[in-house]
Subunit: 349 residues, 2 copies
Amino acid sequence: MVTMKDIAAEAGVSRGTVDRVLNNRGRVAPDKEKRIREIAEKLGYRPNPAGKGLAARKKQLKIGFIYVKNAAAPFHMAVYRAAQEYAVELEQYGVEVLFFPVTRAIENNEEWIRMFETLIPARPQIDGWAVLGLAADSLVTWLKMRGEGTVPVVTYNLDSSCEWKLAYVGCDYRQAGRLACGVASLMTDAQGKVCILSMDPGNIQSSAERIEGFEDEMKDRYPDMEIVDKIFFGMEGYYESVKGDLMKKLEEYSGIDVIYLVNPGDYSICEYISRTEMPHRVKIITNDLITGEQWEMVRNEKIAVTICQEPEKQGRKPLEILFDYLALGREPDTAWYKTELSINIAQNL
Amino acid sequence: MVTMKDIAAEAGVSRGTVDRVLNNRGRVAPDKEKRIREIAEKLGYRPNPAGKGLAARKKQLKIGFIYVKNAAAPFHMAVYRAAQEYAVELEQYGVEVLFFPVTRAIENNEEWIRMFETLIPARPQIDGWAVLGLAADSLVTWLKMRGEGTVPVVTYNLDSSCEWKLAYVGCDYRQAGRLACGVASLMTDAQGKVCILSMDPGNIQSSAERIEGFEDEMKDRYPDMEIVDKIFFGMEGYYESVKGDLMKKLEEYSGIDVIYLVNPGDYSICEYISRTEMPHRVKIITNDLITGEQWEMVRNEKIAVTICQEPEKQGRKPLEILFDYLALGREPDTAWYKTELSINIAQNL
DNA sequence: ATGAAAGCGCTAACAA
DNA sequence: TTGTTAGCGCTTTCAT
């Protein structure tokens, strides 16, 4: 294995000079720089992460993690748990992760800014951020207002084209919709009738993309399938009142084979559906694996399939990317770390 | 973050003593040992892997990786590629991985021993082994014959109860069979007729377990499903000659909904099946994702589903476990690192 | 612009 | 049985 010492010896310079070249710290004579790079290349130098990791301790790195803390959004709790777990590992490297919980739904940029104002103290300074894509733009705006320097930002769960973005970790929602369609086709010999349900007002980006993906895939591959209806039944408050209407509607569509439940909020709806008498058993496809109740319903096949997107990775990977970047000087391999979409049924939960 | 230095200061001893206690090297007065452990506990000491990794360089660790090199077994090539990739990372830590290819099918213990005899030189000494479960027992026998000391062994792909075993990395084949059954049920409203095919003489452990799992799951959950036949069509040489007979047999079972192709060897059989005229389209379930040809057939739905078991993890994880153990002194978390079973269709390849 | 030296946490060889 | 020391690869500070 080749070390900086070897390169320094070969080039007849000090290790400090090699360090300056290989880490682009400047202040090196151009001819030496060139020679050092050539030698590094020739010898196949690869930095030892243990050495870097050890030296990085002196930087006292701090990473901020902004997450949703809300029992009604357990997907985000899974993200948080995974992040916390990895934070313990990072602590062993002398890196501190500071967690900032967002507890309520936030509507717009100004509100985010006010939230950050109360949430994030001026000190200690944070060297890098992991943040929900939803809030990334506001965060960067606010950091600029505070007038501190540029810091890397990794977004997760939703993408954002915010400045300072280093990478995004999350799934491809359109592909998730396409996958749901593939599953529906599998279950119905490519000729099923589908009803799409979502508990949102029809303006949530991730839901919209999933539905688009579903429709696109159906157009591309399964001409004999049909979407009978798309029902959006609004926000949480309305749920109980709407349940009756909803069931009535479903009974109308007596020929339905599959319900794609995009954004249920409350999984008890699946219980209702599974108890309803219909000419043949309706199969339910959901997303993610969130509550114990939902898990149970997949186990006993009241929910036929659920399509998951690795919440653990969404918690862990952003921290990993930031650590590699800040402590080891490694650029991310890609700008989009896709989480895998998995098909889960009773036998592979 | 707490370091050994902190503990040494608190206990009023030297760092060497702390090291001896915390790494069980012995030769420490019992009372001091006790006190040091207590302090470590109290302070929440967690070793810094960067420090350990750096110090481990001096050990010049060598890990042996025994794998199948055979174009007809591309699953193992995927294992190998992943192992090689990780070996490059390990090289950065000063750890060398030595690869030993097994190129032909090996029947019994004596033959394995002869193979190792020619394959593995006496030097350099290897500090730990990653090996196919199939060959693990023979390897350990042979290492003992050579009279070198105990070394840790991690098995992969198949489990083995060999001595010196540190951990096993691989899937649960029974569960894979159960999962295949769940998928078959999904596609047939839990009342499908299934034919099980395998290109082995009926005595390969992994195939046998998958089939058992399939049958068990059917008994447990899907009384209306039926296994029409189980056909084992022998070894590679017989394949071409048997194809005609096989197709004839399938036509007899004209009511078949699903073929579970356990161990195909040659995926062109799927082409044949998809071209055959049958009352309704037969759906094929395979295992793993191996050849480009197979990939293509999943994409265009000639194969409905394939159930994968993470070959990359089987290549990488054994090395990771050995590195953690040898270089960082970390015991494995578990004796069985299960690879995930994933359901793959055209939309999530 | 360059080099020398100290130090990050841990281990191993040697001295006491 | 215990302490001391040097060194793993890399970064940073300080002197030149």
